[in-house]
Symmetry: C2
Subunit: 284 residues, 2 copies
């Protein structure tokens, strides 16, 4: 396998996801290096054996020694980093990312990249309501989905390498989607869910509701605890797909509301039977 | 305590919730009797030691021997049952229920009831996506909320008895609300959540989405697997409160959608900061 020759891994951005990649790869025997501007994140990772080497500034020797690099940065920062530091990389290395939106990232990065380096995008569909390397945990990948997002400029070797990375990290299902398919999917499955959770918390300022609630409200609002810096950026970078899924949802919501207003019990039951049937697709 | 003199408990309706009450009370030493029209439910409960006695038809001797009765029936069936069989009860007994809506039940039942029997309503905020006594489990009450819903016609003794019932069942928090407060609360915290989950499943017929989803979509749609007979009835019995919370939600949704359309990053971040702050109220 290509992968076994790439044993020095550089992780740029050591937060929850970068840290979880680091833990998983180090446990598998890779030599893991990390760069993060936050000294506390690097200190924590070194003290806890999450990485082998760490730096708070871009270290030419470290970047130059990497056989592969994984970017776990916000989309805009990722593009800036590549533009500024790509000359430090070894020829021939594969670069991947973990960014939650793809169309606005992948093409720009591939356009600006040196021809002897290949960028192959991926999206690990895993996370937590907390952020920071101190919450990182490789177990969040188990049972989770991993999507490789190639363009026509990617080689079969890089796509294979990236799928293999998902496998060694322990993901349960690995898929391949185009950037456009990915962003439409994520606008619905992830961003719309976060929008609904955020909106639900705007509906009431009654703190005492916690004394009455069952599990359903807790489930629908778990992700209302949200990293606003990251998600506001992701929302706006995927604005068209998000607005589209918001509109689809609102139109179905209006249709259901009308059934309730009309007292159409049979219509309500049919909608519930459909939802019960479709939800079974998502049983783990 | 009043409760210790009431050691023969009759449960009418032996589904998920009735069965969970039966398990909890039997374990505490009460003599538990159950009536359910489904022979399989009664047979299962007897075979598995969930009840001491069971009947598939209304048994005068059983009803007449009960020191207390708990109704776990759909709202309309509950009212019919009381109208038809209340003469069988001993004088002086306390009756309670587990119904998910109150305004349309409590006053009607209290109006029709013999003056020597007292009905005190309660709502155990616990459940599962499955139905039937075979899924019953007393552990669903732990960590859960229990709401006693008295009217001006209830005595302090019955209210105290009903709170005590919630305590012995093992609920974590016991509150008291009027029927109107209860129904408004439930329209938002429970019914709107179920409506959103059902609507989300109407948005896409793409079975492959399961290969890409993270946990957020699973969380928001867990309750899309829904007992359509029960929930369609509950929705329509609480129509005004449900429509009100749907409208509040939709108006907040529109406001958030506008922030996205306007590319108002600061506005989106403020909404996310508010949701993060408020969600902390609901941490267990």
């Amino acid at each position: 396998m290509e992968w076994i020759n790439r044993d020095r891994v550089l992780i740029v951005g050591l937060g929850l996801i970068g840290g979880s990649y680091a833990r998983a790869l180090k446990r598998l025997g890779y030599y893991v290096m990390a760069i993060d501007t936050d000294p506390q994140a690097i200190a924590y990772a070194l003290e806890n054996g999450i990485v082998d080497e760490g730096a708070t500034e871009v270290d030419s020797a470290m970047v130059g020694s990497a056989d592969t690099a994984i970017f776990a940065l916000y989309p805009r920062v990722l593009k800036e980093w590549i533009a500024q530091y790509q000359d430090l990389f070894k020829p021939g290395i594969f670069i991947t990312d973990v960014t939650g939106v793809k169309g606005c990232v992948v093409y720009d990065v591939q356009d600006m990249l040196r021809p002897d380096i290949e960028f192959i995008a991926a999206h690990p569909m895993a996370g937590k309501e907390t952020s920071g390397v101190q919450y990182s945990d490789a177990r969040i990948f188990h049972d989770a989905n991993y999507v490789v997002v190639p363009t026509s400029r990617n080689t079969p070797e890089a796509i294979e390498w990236c799928k293999n990375l998902g496998q060694v990290l322990g993901f349960a299902r690995i898929s391949v989607l185009s950037p456009e398919e990915h962003d439409e999917m994520i606008g619905f499955l992830s961003q719309l869910m976060h929008a609904i959770a955020v909106v639900l918390m705007a509906c009431s300022d009654n703190e005492h509701l916690a004394n009455y609630t069952g599990d359903s409200f807790r489930d629908l609002t778990r992700i209302a605890r949200i990293n606003d810096a990251m998600w506001s950026e992701l929302f706006l970078l995927n604005k068209d797909a998000l607005l589209h899924s918001m509109d689809v949802f609102e139109s179905e919501f209006d249709r259901f509301r009308q059934l309730v207003e009309d007292g159409d019990k049979e219509g309500i039951r049919r909608a519930m039977q459909l939802s019960t049937e479709r939800r079974a697709w998502f049983d783990k």
